[in-house]
Amino acid sequence: MSEKGEVDLTGAKQNTGVWLVKVPKYLSQQWAKASGRGEVGKLRIGKNQGKAEVEFTLNEDLTMIDSLGNKPSGVQAPRDHPFTMQTVGGQTLAVFTETQSERISLEGLVVQRAECRPAVSENYMKLKRLQIEELSKPVRLSQQLEKAVTTNYKPVANHSYNLEYDRKKKEEGKRARVDKQQVLDMLFSAFEKHQYYNIKDLVDITKQPVSYLKEILRDIGIYNVKGTHKNTWELKPEYRHYQGGEEEEKETDD
């Protein structure tokens, strides 16, 4: 059972050799369409007069290219792809895998690098042309509209906003003054959470009219023009116990 961070080195110890192959984009797209066990083609490795020849042949059923929009184009992917073999010198490449559970294991070392090239054929040319066409299309397109747009007109006052405004007025109107004690309780609990408050925020929290709230605040708090901008209210020193952020209930004197 490997813990997180611990790398499973079995692949490295066994010196498992793998190949690193660079594959064209269209080919990998075709491979993604593979079904079943995922067979995509055949790899033929031959030795021709001492030289190794590797060729990949794509499966027939995977040669249908879907152009943009998923309609089958008339283009077929080329089937034959010889591999160009390259050396690994200059870099030591290792392969590691990561699972979803974040376990890392070393799979092996790259012993051979290769490039999968398509054998140049008519099919390939057609494919390339299709690709170029798709890429050359501009991302943004100007379209001419037949009718002028008449659905947006500027209202004098925003209709929805109007409604909201009316509703707000109805609901709150003048904020009712509650008992001073209640307000104080609300304030103290608010100041337990934060030290500095804007008057607007306090009004919001306590739902009290501004003047009334200010009266109460003048009692228990101070209005400071702090170094950091914004004028904020905070409790008077005798009312606060800001050690480690925990506070006790404060007595209010009436």
Partner: protein, 538 residues
């Protein structure tokens, strides 16, 4: 796996599969082949994401909740950032570098940075051969370039820049890291440099040598430095007590070094400044002090090195700083006020420069009233004026080491001999041999408090010098008086009037005589453009 026979070729076919289940994500770990990484030799390895960049994007709040916080601060900050268009890029864990530790804590460390753009135009696949002979191809998700991380100490960019500027002067490169470590020691006394680096071995020996060695023109100095390095190389067997001594010394010297480095910083010298420079010696405060102090320290106990270090230190540095007034007083008295306070101060200001230390030795003695600027190395600041520079000129190439080392020893004893030395100074101002004595005595005489009698500064009898030899211009009191009546002049100007070629006197003599004359005339002083001018009103 059908094998097809061919004429001279044989090939085998394999099925290629691209598995659909993608529970494992494949990535490439690339090492530079020059690092000679052999994965099979790893016994164990740990790899984690390097999260050190997270704080840039994440929470940088000072306070959360209760004290010090504002209501709605977070939202306000975010709104502000949006208003100014500051776009903070999201912190993606998958893009963070890897930290790979091989073979435990003592093993190698690698940092793997993600290489971008590998999946843009082409895809990489890993082909592995399965037991059943078929190939399986897995797409590569990411490519990480792993580089080994240095465990040894390195210089930061600023330090590297500094050292680059001194590359031609520094002979001992080990001292660079050593100095850095000593600086760190000052900051964190708990840090114990027990790392097994070369620097550590050198420390006990080089602890004194921590400052950079300057390249000396003189063989003495070269020999001295090479001796040091040889002996230090030989003494590879570290002993703890020695090292501790080095520590203590290092702390004591660190101050000096710091000042040394400060003084170096004050200098605006580049490499090319010293070409074609006629120098007697170029000992830095630190180097000469350290050499001296180190020698002392080795032979003495730890307490004493401090004392001597301070002494040597003070001799060279504190002369300017601590005994400013005394020297100033001395000089003024001795030179009968010719050495203007302004000039003196200027000299003191440039005391950071190494040459000043030597000059100030002589300053203290103030053998003669005025000294002309005979040979002014470019290193000296402009404010030197006629002050210390001339003394260099009047001094032949005596090695600084000798002078300072002897000065050290003489210092304590010579304070009693101040008056006697002064006399010696007066009488021997001409001969080079005596000059050395003069330097020694001067350094010791620095601490003197008593003002020098005004007659001291002029060693030669006035009568002998005021008689001019046959020449166009005669250095007489009359001539000087005439000049001073006409317009205010500085001492420099006066000296220019009585050029040695025309008066037939040597520069030394001219200076002495002029000093006497000025003393007799006692002209009025006026400060014009920061320079002390003399004038007479008849």
């Amino acid at each position: 796996m059908a094998s097809l026979g061919g004429s001279s070729s044989s090939s085998t076919e394999y099925i290629v599969r691209v598995p659909k289940n993608t529970s494992k994500k494949y990535s490439i770990m690339a090492f530079n082949s020059g690092d000679k990484v052999n994965c099979s030799s790893w016994t164990q390895a740990r790899m984690e994401r390097d999260m050190s960049n997270r704080r840039m994007y994440g929470v940088e709040e000072t306070e959360e909740g209760a004290a010090g916080s504002e209501f709605g601060k977070k939202q306000r900050e975010e709104a502000r950032r949006k208003k100014f268009g500051i776009v903070t890029r999201e912190f993606k864990v998958e893009d963070q570098p890897w930290i790979l530790k091989v073979n435990g804590k003592a093993g190698k460390r690698f940092k793997g940075t993600k290489k971008g753009g590998i999946t843009e135009n082409a895809s990489y696949y890993i082909f592995t051969q399965c037991p059943d002979g078929a190939f399986e191809a897995f797409p590569v998700n990411g490519w990480y370039n792993f580089v080994p991380q240095a465990k040894h100490r390195t210089l930061t960019a600023e330090e590297a820049e500094e050292e680059w500027g001194r590359r031609n002067k520094v002979v001992n490169h080990f001292s660079i890291m050593l100095q850095r470590r000593l600086r760190e020691q000052e900051r964190g006394p708990d840090d114990d440099d027990e790392e097994g680096e070369k620097g550590g071995k050198k420390k006990k020996k080089k602890g004194g040598r921590g400052g950079d060695l300057r390249i000396h023109d003189l063989e003495d100095d070269l020999e001295l430095s090479s001796d040091e390095s040889d002996s230090s190389g030989g003494e590879d067997g570290d002993s703890k007590p020695k090292k501790k001594e080095g520590d203590v010394k290092g702390k004591g010297k660190k101050k000096k070094k710091k000042r040394g480095s400060d003084s170096e910083a004050n200098e605006d010298s580049d490499d090319g400044d010293f070409e074609g420079l006629e120098v007697d010696y170029m000992s830095d405060e630190s180097s000469s002090e350290e050499e001296v102090g180190e020698e002392k320290a080795k032979s003495n106990k730890e307490a004493v090195p401090k004392g001597i270090d301070e002494a040597s230190e003070s001799e060279e540095e504190s002369e300017e700083e601590k005994q400013n007034e005394e020297e100033g007083k001395e000089e003024e008295e001795e030179e009968e006020g010719k050495k203007t306070p302004v000039q003196t101060k200027k000299k003191r200001d440039s005391s950071g420069e190494s040459d000043t230390s030597e000059d100030s030795d002589i300053d203290g003695e103030a053998a003669s009233a005025l000294f002309m600027v005979k040979r002014t190395p470019p290193k000296r600041g402009g404010g030197r004026g006629s002050g210390g520079s001339s003394r260099t000129g009047s001094r032949p190439g005596t090695p600084s080491i000798d002078s300072t080392s002897t000065s050290n020893t003489l210092r304590a004893a010579a304070s009693k001999l101040e008056q006697g030395k002064r006399q010696v100074v007066g009488g021997s101002s001409e001969s080079p041999a005596a000059k050395r004595l003069k330097m020694e005595s001067s350094s010791t005489a620095v601490t003197t408090q008593s003002p020098a009698p005004s007659g001291k500064s002029t060693p030669q009898p006035p009568s002998g010098k005021s008689t001019p030899s046959s020449s166009d211009v005669q250095l007489t009191e009359e001539a000087v008086r005439r000049y001073l009546i006409r317009k205010p002049m500085t001492t420099k100007d006066l000296l220019k009037k009585f050029q040695t070629k025309r008066t037939g006197l040597s520069s030394e003599q001219t200076v002495n005589v002029l000093a006497q004359i000025l003393k007799r005339l006692n002209p009025e002083r006026k400060n014009v453009n920061d320079k002390m001018h003399f004038y007479l009103t008849e």
